[in-house]
Symmetry: C2
Subunit: 345 residues, 2 copies
DNA sequence: GTGAAAGCGCTAACAT
DNA sequence: ATGTTAGCGCTTTCAC
C-alpha cells in the first residue's frame, strides 16, 4: 500500500495538483475555486486519508512545524517538567518537538543549533550555556523566533523567561538571618550563568548588609554524584562554624542532604537548610526542607506564549521581551532556629 | 549570506553535482573518481563549511537520521533518565531524537506514530500503551526498526527490553514474608500493561504460596497528586491490619510515603515498605526505603543497540528479540521487621 | 476559476 | 571516470 501523493489525488479527480494544493491550504476562496470542487476534493482527501508530506512541504517552504528544544539536561527534574509542559502546549498547536541536552557544553550547543537550523526548525527554546550569544544573535537577526529560559545571555537580543534569582536568594538569606543564624553558607554549582551569579549576589548582599561572613562553596558538576557529596561533606567538616546553608540548585541541595545525613548532622539543630527549587525529596525529608519554588507551569506557559507570538507573524515586536517571574517560598521546618522550634510546632 | 547548495559547490569546482554527491557520500572509490578530484572537492567543502540539506536528502532517500522516541511521560524520572542516555548514545551515531509523551493514551499514540511515519523517522523507541499492536506490527512489517521497552505488547512482533517484573515482585514479597509480615499489600497504578500485570502476579504468587491474604489497591493515575495520596491514605486507614506494603511504581511509592507521613505511621514499625524503582527520595527518606532498582543504563544501552542493529542492514534477524533484564534490590531499612531491628543496626 | 511548469536540494540510474 | 537528468512531493507564479 503505497502512500498517496498530491498527484494521485489530482489525477483521480481530474484536476491539477495546484488546485488540490490550494484547497488543502485554505486558499480556495482566495483563488475563487468553486464550492463544489472544494468539497469534492475535501471529501476524497478525507476518504483516502491523504496527508501531505511534511518533508516535501518543508523542502519547498522552509517551514517544518518543529520546535527545537535545548535544555541543559533532560534528566534534571526541573527541565523534564518544563519539557513536558512545553511539549503538550506545542503539540496542541501542531508543533512537534525536536529536543536535545546541551550538558552546558558550549561547543555541543553550537553544533546543535546548526543541526536545528539545517532541519529548518521554526523556533528555538534554549536554556543556553555561556558563550553562544553570537549564534543566538545570528538566529534572531535572521528572524528566527528564539526564547531563552532559566538563564539569559547579557548580550543576546532574544526573548527570555527567568525568575528573580537575586531577590529570591536575598530573601532566603534574610530568612536565615532573621532566624538568628550568623554563619550562613551558600553552596552551589560553579557556573558563569546568570541565574547562578544572580543567586550568589543576592546571597552576598544579604550577608554583607548584615556585616556577616561570606561562605561560598562552588561545586564542579560531576556526573559521579558521590564525588560531589564528598566535596560538600569535606567542606562542612572543615567549616564547623557554619550553622545554616542555602543551596543554589536542586541537585546541590540533594547532594547536601546526602552529605548532612552521612555526617549525622541534624537539620535544623546543627545546620539549618534552604534550597532553591522544590522537589519530592524536600517535601518528604525529615524534617521537610524549606524551598524556593519556581513556578514551573507559568515558566512553561510564558515560554510557549512568547514563541507562538513570534511564530505567528502578527504584530511581532522587534524588541525582545525579558520576563522575570517570582518564586515562592515553601516554608517548612528546615530553616527554623532551634530556639524557636517549640513555638513553631 | 545565503546557504550554499550542492550546485554552488559543483559550479565552483566545474564538476557536476553527482560527482560532488558521490564524494560526499563516500562513493568516490566505487565510482572511480580521481584521488585528486576527491581531495579538491573535500577541501572546498570544508573551506566553505558546506553541509548537505538533510531535508532535501530526506525527501530523496526517505531517510531522516531521526529516531522517534515515545515515552509515557518525559517528566517521569525513570523515562527522563532513559531518554537522556538514549539521546547521548544516538547523538554519537549521528541520529537526532524527535520525542513525545504518550500519556498512555492509545489514540494519541496512534496519531503520534502517524506523525513520525510522515516525517520518515528511521526508527522507533516506544513505551507503548495498550492497544497499539496493529500500528506496531504495520511498522515492523514495513521493515521499520521498532524497539519497545518498559512493557511489551503480547501480540506485537517487535524487539523489546524489559525487566523481570514478575520475579522481582515475587522476590520482594518473599523478602517481606521472610521478615515475618503477614498482611502485605500491593499498591500500584491501575493498568493493563504487561509490566504492571507481571508485578501483580509476582506479588500474588508469593502471597498465595504462603497462604496469606491478597490486598491490592489500584490507584487511577491522576495528575492531581493530592487526590492519589488521599486514595492511599484512605486505604491504609481502612485496612489497619496491613503491616507491609509493596509499591508497584516509583510514583506510587512516593504517594505512599506522603500518605504514610500524613497518617503519622512509622516505617517499618507500623508499616514496612518496599518500592519498585529507585529514587533520591528513597535514599534520603528516614528510614531509607528498600527499593527494586532497574538497571537504567543497561536498559538504555540495550534499546539503542537493538535499534542500531536493525538500522544497519547487516544481518538483521527476521525474528524479534525480547530482552529481559534483572533488577537489583537496594536493601535498606524500610523492609526490616522491628523484631530484627536491633540486630540489623 | 483552473492548470502548467518551475524549482526547493539532493541522489542515483543512465549516458557518455 | 564524469556528466546529464529525472525525479522525491510539494507550493506558487504566471498564463489561460
Amino acid at each position: 500500500m503505497k502512500k498517496l501523493s498530491i498527484a494521485d489525488i489530482a489525477n483521480h479527480l481530474n484536476v491539477s495538483k495546484s488546485t488540490v494544493s490550494f484547497v488543502l491550504n485554505g486558499r480556495a476562496e482566495e483563488k475563487r475555486i468553486s464550492k463544489e470542487l472544494v468539497s469534492r476534493v475535501e471529501k476524497f482527501v478525507k476518504e483516502v486519508g491523504y496527508t501531505p508530506s511534511p518533508i516535501a512541504r518543508g523542502l519547498r517552504t522552509g517551514k517544518s512545524n518543529i520546535i527545537g528544544l535545548m535544555v541543559e539536561s533532560i534528566s534534571d527534574p526541573f527541565f523534564a517538567n518544563i519539557a513536558k509542559l512545553i511539549e503538550s502546549r506545542a503539540y496542541k498547536k501542531g508543533y512537534r518537538i525536536l529536543y536535545c541536552s546541551t550538558d552546558n557544553d558550549t561547543e555541543k550547543t553550537r553544533a546543535l543549533i546548526e543541526v536545528f537550523r539545517e532541519r529548518n526548525v521554526d523556533g528555538y527554546i534554549i536554556s543556553p550555556p555561556v558563550g553562544v550569544e553570537d549564534e543566538i544573535n545570528a538566529l534572531t537577526k535572521a528572524g528566527m523566533p528564539v526564547v531563552l529560559f532559566d538563564r539569559s545571555l547579557p548580550n543576546a537580543g532574544a526573548d527570555s523567561v527567568e525568575i528573580n534569582n537575586e531577590s529570591s536568594a536575598f530573601n532566603a538569606t534574610r530568612l536565615l538571618i532573621d532566624q538568628g543564624f550568623t554563619n550562613i553558607a551558600f553552596i552551589t554549582f560553579s557556573s558563569l550563568l546568570t541565574q547562578m551569579s544572580g543567586r550568589l549576589s543576592g546571597y552576598k548582599s544579604a550577608i554583607e548588609q548584615e556585616g556577616l561572613g561570606v561562605n561560598v562553596l562552588e561545586i564542579d558538576y560531576n556526573p559521579d554524584e558521590d564525588s560531589m557529596i564528598q566535596t560538600v561533606s569535606n567542606y562542612l567538616s572543615e567549616n564547623k562554624h557554619i550553622d545554616a546553608v542555602l543551596f543554589g540548585a536542586v541537585q546541590a541541595g540533594i547532594c547536601g542532604l546526602k552529605a548532612l545525613t552521612e555526617l549525622n548532622l541534624k537539620i535544623p539543630e546543627d545546620v539549618a537548610v534552604i534550597s532553591f527549587d522544590d522537589h519530592d525529596v524536600f517535601k518528604l525529608f525529615a524534617p521537610p526542607i524549606t524551598a524556593i519554588s519556581q513556578p514551573i507551569e507559568e515558566i512553561a506557559g510564558r515560554i510557549i506564549s512568547l514563541l507562538l507570538e513570534r511564530l505567528n507573524p502578527g504584530q511581532s515586536h522587534a524588541v525582545s521581551q525579558k520576563i522575570i517571574l517570582n518564586t515562592e517560598f515553601k516554608l517548612r521546618r528546615s530553616h527554623v532556629n532551634k530556639r524557636f522550634l517549640r513555638k513553631a510546632e
